[in-house]
Structure formats: structure tokens, C-alpha cells
Amino acid sequence: MAHTHKSNLELIKNGMFSENTIFRMAISLCPSIAVTNSLKNGMALGIAVVFVQTMVNVTISAIRKFIHPKIRIPIFMLIIAGYVTIIDMVMSTYFRAIYAQIGLYIQIIVAFASIFARAEVFASKNKVIPSFMDGFGMGVGFLLAMIVISFFREFLGKGELFGITIVAGKPLLIMILPAGGFLAVGLLMAFFNWIDMRFYGGKGASGV
């Protein structure tokens, strides 16, 4: 991937739209359904991912010349696990209420294919500043996806945003149940595909 020509701002935009983790590449899906039943939780996980993704990219890029190719996988996992442990401890102390609900999924960040893939594909081959931009962009793309899905689900499922009631009246309870999560992501993915096909002439195949 020849990202050396792209300006830093383009790298961020890339992570946010054309290579958006969830909607276009369909990896790291697990948490997108689990935590998006409310905007607060979704944003919390999104911010955690921005932190981990950016720091992992920067760290791996900084030491890329010293990593022997054969042991790079355990080293990457170690670095990712380290940063996840940090954000896990920070959140469990300072954001107790949110952590009580999504703590398990914060720890699962360690298994995110997207962070690992980015480290492998980009950070290990590029300098520190572009890696920072790329990690940040990918993280923000993830955060954006979280916000969109959570918005959809919390608004339709409870008529609230951030716990503030916006629409009174019977909400669609299914949207905040696990089933609704699947439905929401499926519909949103189809929507993104449709936009892609209609306005950009793409073939709209997200994932398989």
C-alpha cells in the first residue's frame, strides 16, 4: 500500500470513510453490536479504540526497525495487550458506571483484527507521523460508526439520546435488544452499500 503519497489529512479521511473499519471492511464487528445500545457506551468504546489504535500504531512504527519479522506477531500482540490493559485500568477507575456495562468489551479490544491488521499493513512499514495519522483516522472511523449505530439504536429503541428523552411515546424495544443490534448493523451496512453504488458507482460489496 503506497500511502507515502497521501497527505496526512487524507490518511485521516481514508480511515474515516473509504476504509471505515465497520461499514466497508466489516471487521471488528463484535463490539459494534454489544455496546451500541446507548450512545454513551458506544462513544466510550469508540474513544478507547481511538486511544489504543493510535498508540499502537505510533509505538510499532517507532520500533519497526528493531522487530525481527519472525517474532513480529507476538510482539504486536504484546504491545496491543499492554495498551488495552492501560485503558482498561483507566476506565475502571475513572468511569466506573460505564465500565460496569462494557468492561468485558474494552478488554476484548485486544482481539480486534483491525488494530492488528493496521499495525501489520501500515505501521510496520511507515514512519511515525503518518502512522499516527492513520491510526487516528481508523480509530475515528470506528468511533463514527459507533456513534451512528448507537444513535440509530438508542433513538429508535428508547426515544432517548444520552439518557435525555427526546421523543415521548412507545419506542421500538427491539432495537436495544441484541437482535436489534444485528438488524441495525445489517440495515446500516446495506445503506452504505446503496450510497456507494448510487453515488460512487461502486459495486457495493462490503465484506463477503
Partner: protein, 202 residues
Amino acid sequence: MDFNKLFELIIAASLINNFVFTRFLGLCIFFGVSKKMETAIGMSITFTSVMVISAALSWVVFTQVMMENALYAGSPDLTFLKIIIFIGIVAAFVQSADTIMKKVSPTMYYKLGVYLALITTNCIILAVPLINAGEGYTFIESMAFGLGSGLGFALALIIMASIREKLELADVPRPFRGLPISFVVAGLIALAFTGFSGLITL
């Protein structure tokens, strides 16, 4: 040994809190592998076995090494390292299972070996030891929980594979083709699984 509790754990992990449909873990692999029945079955077998053994291994390491006063009186509390250690255990186990299977049973390796590599980044494999550690299950209870989660995953995969094989022949609208329609299907199955939620009143 409290068989009631063990049975409850297995039912809870496989049906009530099914890891795929209720906890949303293991989705990437779930959608990737459930396209054909053979791959689904192969993955289920591999996954359940790896799950039970990893649950056992992590339990041993967690209680005998990492907890306070575990190794010797006054040994430090290393539980904050559990994320790193569990991933390490799973990765090491999968790697050794890979090598051993290649030598001992090449035919089985040929059929199931490819799934082993996929399992390492599976969210469920990490989640089960974490939950075991958090809930403080005993050794047998941890394995029961691992077995239940493996069976639940197998159930999810097989149901999904049978539906997706039929979907291949259906006329799906273009934006929905591929993953989006699978998600919608998963949502409907998840809705059905919600029916299990009152099965065991704990």
C-alpha cells in the same frame, strides 16, 4: 461436585447467554465460516475442543500463579496482567496444537488445521477465561462454561450455515448482498434466542 450447577452453566452459556446471539462475540469468524455446512461443522469441533482446554489452562494459571498468595505466601497479585497472559496462553496453545496435530494426525490437520489459526483472534476465546476469572468459577465449572460456550457457538454456526446455503439461491436486493442480509438473518435468529431468556431462573 454439584451437577446441577454444572448443567445450569452449560445451558446458560449455550442457550441463554449464547455467545454469538446474546453477547455478540466471535462475530467475524461467525460470518466468515458460516457460508457452508462443512466449514461450519469443522470450525465447531475445533473451536469447542480449543475452548475447553484453554478454559482449563487459563484457570490453572490464573488461580495458581496470578492470584495473591498463589505461588508462595506473599506472592504479588498479578491479576491485572490477565489480558496479556490469557492471550499468551491461547496463542501458545493454538500454536502447539497446530504443530502437534500436523505430526500426529496429518489427515485431521488437513481437514481442521486451517481453523486453528483463525481461532486465535476470536473474541470468545479471550472472553471465556476473562469471565471465568471474574466470576471465580472452580476448575470443573470453568471447563463446563467453556464447553457450553463451544456448544452454543457450534449451534449458532450450524443454524447460520444452513440458512446461508439457502440464501445463496434467493433473490437478495443488491445493497443487501453478502454481509448485510446475513446480519439481518442473525438478528432474526437472535430474536428467537431471546425466547430462551427465562429458561433457568437463577
